[in-house]
């Protein structure tokens, strides 16, 4: 039991470092979801089922969903975002004009 909990804690730390290191936002959000999931299992091993249920429903469920929605809105998921490209060009043009 003790060893399993320790392994999960090590996994939590690995997850945290990975979230910090990954470049891609979507990947880091998914890793963060795994972090929440493991956290809820750790809480079960610590005899706090209330916390485990809440963390599973909120941390791994709703929070991650909100992160996905936010990413969808800022088009980090959808790389084929023409609106953004068009606007980036417009912005670049605007800046070069400003520099002149």
């Amino acid at each position: 039991m003790n060893v399993i909990v320790m392994l999960m804690l090590v996994f939590l730390i690995i997850c945290a470092v990975a979230v910090s290191m990954t470049k891609d936002l979507l990947t880091s959000v998914i890793i963060y979801m795994a972090y929440s999931m493991i956290m809820s299992v750790v809480w079960i091993t610590m005899e706090s089922p209330d916390l485990a249920i809440t963390e599973a429903a909120v941390g791994a469920g709703v929070t991650t969903l909100l992160f996905f929605l936010a990413l969808k809105k800022i088009h980090a998921i959808d790389a084929r975002n023409e609106v953004r490209k068009a606007h980036a060009q417009e912005k670049l043009g605007g800046e070069t004009e400003h520099e002149k």
């Binding site: 809440t54 909120v58 709703v62 969903l65 969808k72």
Partner: protein
């Protein structure tokens, strides 16, 4: 005499407010009509002077920071952060070595407070789940604050993301994205048969689980918040599968407002009652019931249901506002 004065005062202030509002409306309309030509020459000159000066300063700043400056400050900042972080880690780990061993019963926090919760909690609150009894009865003021935090966050999110004139005016991208019929905001699934069939089975199960967790909050793990989050997830699944048009048939912004209003008012009023009677040493008349039955533990069941409703609505509201900008 007094009421007359109050009336007069309120009339005086009300007149003022409506006059102000009329004026604001008129001025907004006027502002929309008028062009920049309305500026006086003096204003234009001042604006120009201001702009020139700012540009001069900006140029100087840019020259200084452009290449080396930002890099150096950035590196310094990173090093500072790392140093702070390392100090923090060393100090806190040192603290951990001084704390009592993990899992040992003679920890300072295992004192008379927790002993009473465990030994008398069932008789005093009627809740089998001691954690629920503790947060909704012994430490109810904290939990009232917790619900207010959720309410505050919901209000600020609504304020930030609900569509209005202002949010489109300043951002071309937002406008394009809102007007684009293919964007996520307008996308309504029409015939995604797999999703719909799955949701048809799953949504009732998820909602029922949520209801079970809320209603059994005082008997088993869970409670208003976790059950509410599960029910909110059920509603979100429904909306993903069947679209906002169907959802609107029974859940609109008005529903959201009404449910949250009623639930929070019930919550606040029942807490009002129990705080008032508690502080004035009046015994509470609400029966605690037989421990273990579903209709037991007095106000805790009511509070759990209220919190459940608030959380369900708030979670769905977060989803809808993030996705569509309206409920």
């Amino acid at each position: 005499m007094k009421s007359k004065m109050m009336n007069k005062l309120s009339e005086w202030l009300t007149d003022e407010a409506s006059a102000l509002e009329r004026e604001m409306e008129a001025s907004q309309e006027r502002a929309a009509d008028e062009d920049e030509a309305a500026l006086t020459p003096a204003e234009i000159r001042w604006a120009q002077e201001e702009k020139e000066e700012e540009e001069r300063i900006a140029r100087r700043l840019n020259e200084w920071t452009d290449e080396t400056g930002t890099k150096i400050s950035r590196t310094l900042y990173s090093i500072l952060c790392l140093v702070i972080c390392l100090t923090l880690i060393v100090l806190l780990l040192y603290t951990v070595t001084e704390l009592p061993s993990f899992g040992s019963p003679d920890h300072p926090i295992n004192n008379e407070v927790s002993a009473r919760y465990i030994e008398k909690g069932l008789q005093e609150t009627g809740a089998v789940n001691i954690v629920t009894g503790m947060i909704l009865d012994y430490r109810a003021f904290d939990t009232l604050g917790e619900s207010s935090v959720l309410f505050t966050a919901a209000m600020v999110v609504l304020f930030l993301l609900r569509k209005d004139k202002e949010s489109h005016k300043y951002s071309p991208l937002a406008k394009v994205m809102h007007d684009n019929p293919h964007s996520d905001t307008y996308y309504e699934p029409k015939n995604d048969i797999i999703l719909q069939k799955t949701a048809f089975v799953l949504v009732p199960i998820v909602l029922l689980t949520g209801v079970y967790v809320v209603l059994n909050g005082h008997l088993s793990p869970g409670g208003g918040f976790s059950g509410g989050a599960i029910m909110g997830a059920g509603l979100i699944l429904y909306v993903i599968a069947f679209g906002f048009a169907k959802m609107r048939r029974f859940f609109t912004y008005k529903t959201y407002q009404f449910v949250v209003l009623i639930a929070l008012l019930t919550y606040a009023c029942s807490k009002c009652y129990s705080f008032f009677t508690g502080a004035n040493h009046i015994p509470s008349v609400i029966p605690l019931g037989t421990p273990g039955a579903i209709l037991s533990s007095g106000l805790i069941l009511v509070l759990n249901i209220c919190v459940g409703f608030v959380v369900t609505c708030t979670m769905y509201c977060f989803y809808a506002v993030f996705r569509k900008g309206e409920l």
